[in-house]
Symmetry: C2
Subunit: 250 residues, 2 copies
């Protein structure tokens, strides 16, 4: 029986994986990856069969149960099976369902953490998510909920935190505004929408919570995050274009 | 004028830095690092002068203003200056003060994100911080506040989130319990204290919020995190000793 490694692919650029993740990909025999994982990252698994499973945003995704079964089956055939997830596997990645299925089947599981998109966004924006006297708490949330879950349950934590980062929310910006306002965030709260954080094509637009639908329409096409809170007020001033030389270094 | 890179050192193990961070350390001329950064990580900066600045937990830390000045001075003398911070630089790292000082001095700043300790903890515990139907929001907080800040302001976000990870809180566990309970968290909420997350010596203890002072006394000696929420209930069952072979791989 092989080992299944749930590995964080990081935010996009192939040099924002951890060294451990890159080494595991180099010796993987098979890699099951999210549809959003970049080709440059997959190229690190030169000797592996690569199988796309799942899709972050909706249609045509493999069912989770089918993914679990494929991972269990692969562990019977291969020594080193990698399940590669965008960002970090333990945030919004349905990792627990895969871990539980593997453990139930008696298969060894290892997790390799990754850089989550919110931290890549902070880096691109050159704005710290915490700041003395301004922001001491940070919430990561997603408005995408499963069947039977309360639609706005995420908003209480987001509205209570000094800084909130909303994953996978740009496609429902008006609903995000409504939920945050209902939980007490002022419409004048600074927000920044950033698309492709951690990639060469990282771009953002800054404004106020009341502007979020317009900002999301401008910058919400690729994988996008919404940063909400006073610290977002500084993004217009401090953020610069990413350095191409660094991002594409080999 | 050189460039100052604020670089995430990750949670501890030298292979949990990003590839980009490791490459920057290899070509750095000088590295200003937190006291908590591991020797194995610093060894990646083979050709650099290494200067310890700051200390996460209190006494004898260099004043922030003095650190800012040293970074500005170093950029006048060196091409590649690395400011190496534990975990990710943009979470609880006072990065903004350093960025602002460097930008004000006309110095180029780049941020390289890192794996934050909470995600290394989730990996070690094999417990996802989010889980469908159980946990859809995550808060990262610290009870360590600066002068003039409200002492329990952090607790509202932590109590509102399905999962909370408390950084640098094990040393004031009784106060953490009091603040969370005052903001509505039941005393029976599952908690896990994990020390040295992301390192070979990672160890944890699980219980209920009411047990936190005892758990923190047992597992709060090294750098420690407190994980609060229903997802923590599974840590007793799913967590195993880290695999030495993987963690020390070269």
């Amino acid at each position: 029986m092989g080992t299944v490694y749930l590995v964080g692919a990081g935010p996009g650029a192939a040099d924002l994986l951890t060294v451990r993740a890159a080494r595991l990909l180099a010796r993987a025999e098979v890699v099951f990856h999210d549809a959003l994982v970049e080709a440059d990252v997959l190229a690190l698994a030169a000797g592996a069969e690569k199988i796309a499973v799942g899709k972050r945003c909706g249609a045509h995704s493999s069912s989770q149960r089918f993914i679990n079964k494929r991972l269990v089956d692969a562990a019977a055939r291969y020594e080193t099976v990698v399940r590669l997830k965008g960002g970090d596997p333990m945030l919004f990645g349905r990792a627990q369902e895969e871990i539980d299925a593997l453990v139930a089947a008696g298969i060894d599981v290892e997790i390799v953490p990754g850089v989550t998109a919110a931290l890549a966004a902070a880096a691109d924006l050159r704005v710290s998510l915490t700041r003395r006297g301004v922001a001491r708490s940070v919430a990561f949330v997603t408005p995408r909920v499963g069947e039977g879950e309360a639609p706005h349950a995420w908003a209480r934590a987001a509205a209570s935190a000094d800084t909130a980062v909303v994953y996978m929310g740009a496609g429902q910006a008006a609903d995000v505004v409504a939920a945050l306002v209902a939980h007490g965030k002022p419409l004048a709260t600074p927000v920044t929408v950033i698309e492709n954080a951690g990639r060469a094509q990282s771009r953002h637009a800054a404004g106020r919570l009341q502007d979020l639908p317009a900002l999301a329409a401008e910058r919400g096409r690729g994988p996008a995050l919404i940063v909400v809170g006073e610290i977002a007020a500084a993004t217009a001033a401090t953020s610069l274009a990413p350095r191409q030389a660094l991002r594409t270094g080999t």
